[in-house]
């Protein structure tokens, strides 16, 4: 049985149920605002957003896998590419680019020029230090964890802070393989 060929991000995006992006953007914004009022501390809000992202990620990954037909990635490089090209596309309808690989291919940057989360957003002075999009980092972290990659995701650039793009640094910490004894060798050639 030859496995079904992986589908392109656009193809999937075209196939999945879609909704008006404004609804999404504003809902997210409203959440952030509510969190800001409830938690007061910007740091707390960042944490909370990341946590929410994580919770989303651990569920979303399956949908991603199911609908994208991507088979197991050879290595972290490929994983990153898939996230950037397929993952982002299929959910947010935008693609990211992957750069800044470090020597041992354990960390890279995902770069988003276009980010539906931040349409209309402008950080008031009161919210300096807020990582508005922190939910994304959470999602990625959560999703990768489900496919046995412990990662650390941090913001390098943030348009809301005047940078020219959004840059997420994804650093692969380790392969969690406890519950997958049979996956020991999966990345052996990496």
């Amino acid at each position: 049985m030859a496995p079904v060929a992986p589908r392109s991000g656009d193809a999937i995006f075209a196939s999945v149920e879609r909704v008006n992006a404004e609804l999404f953007t504003l809902t997210y914004g409203a959440i952030v605002r509510q969190l800001l009022t409830d938690l007061e501390e910007v740091e707390e809000v960042n944490k909370q957003l990341d946590q929410m992202g994580y919770n989303i990620g651990i569920r979303l990954i399956d949908e991603f896998l199911a609908k994208s037909n991507v088979s197991r990635c050879v290595d972290f490089k490929e994983t990153a590419e898939v996230i950037a090209k397929v993952g982002f596309k299929m959910f947010l309808g935008v693609t990211a680019s992957v750069t800044n690989w470090d020597a041992d291919g354990m960390s890279c940057s995902l770069i988003l020029e276009d980010n539906p989360l931040v349409d209309f957003v402008e950080l008031p002075d009161t919210c300096q230090g807020l990582y508005y999009c922190n939910i994304l980092s959470g999602v990625i972290r959560g999703a990768l964890e489900m496919v046995s990659m412990k990662t650390e995701v941090t913001w390098v650039r943030d348009m809301l802070r005047g940078d020219d793009a959004f840059e997420l640094q994804v650093k692969l910490l380790k392969q969690v393989s406890e519950e997958y004894p049979y996956k020991d060798d999966e990345y052996s050639e990496v």
Partner: protein, 192 residues
């Protein structure tokens, strides 16, 4: 049609809002959680209404505004209109969406609710379930209220989930033949 994102983005956001506020911050104070969730919806509604009324003339009366909510506004959000609008002409409007997307994926399992007490309390489970779903409905209610009050119609919006998918057992059979599932939302707007 403007920019779009995958539906699951919004769905998972919703799920997270609810779980964050119901299980996180206000685990033991559902009414507070509800208020927060509603507030989030309110803001969204408030903003969107301003957004979607941009090209259209202003409303001269309430009915127009509410019609707008049922038609244009709703289809902007859900790609479908409200299926049924009723009013008692005394300031109460009933909006009904027979296939409310945000309920389409929900199935509440009563037995999961009352794992502790296996015997009977299906009723209790029922309304626990209802309550859980209710939490998810504060958001759309908020949206409607926000939109209306931005259009100069202060009102109270409540959702009625009496006939929620998994809440009544008897129409499962019916469903089996009919792949598109019924997920009705009924929103009552009390103009104040």
């Amino acid at each position: 049609m403007g920019r779009e994102v995958s539906e699951s983005c919004v769905d998972s956001l919703l799920t997270e809002i609810v779980s964050t506020y119901c299980n996180g911050f206000y685990a033991n104070k559902p009414e507070l959680a509800a208020r927060r969730i509603e507030a989030i919806g309110y803001q969204v509604g408030h903003q969107l209404s301003e957004r979607y009324t941009m090209e259209r003339p202003r409303f001269s009366d309430h009915l127009e505004a509410i019609k707008f909510i049922c038609k244009d506004f709703w289809s902007e959000l859900f790609k479908k209109q409200i299926d049924n609008l009723k009013t008692n002409h005394r300031g109460t409007f009933v909006l009904q969406d027979n296939r409310f997307r945000w309920l389409a994926r929900m199935s509440v399992d009563p037995s999961s609710e009352n794992s502790s007490s296996p015997q009977d309390p299906s009723t209790m489970a029922e309304n626990k379930a209802a309550q859980a779903v209710g939490m998810h409905l504060y958001f759309p209610c908020g949206i409607i209220r926000g939109a209306l009050s931005n259009l100069g119609i202060p009102c109270a919006v409540s959702a009625d989930i009496s006939n929620l998918p998994a809440c009544d057992r008897n129409n499962i059979t019916k469903r089996n033949f009919d792949p598109c599932l019924v997920a009705p939302l009924t929103a009552h707007c009390e103009l104040s």
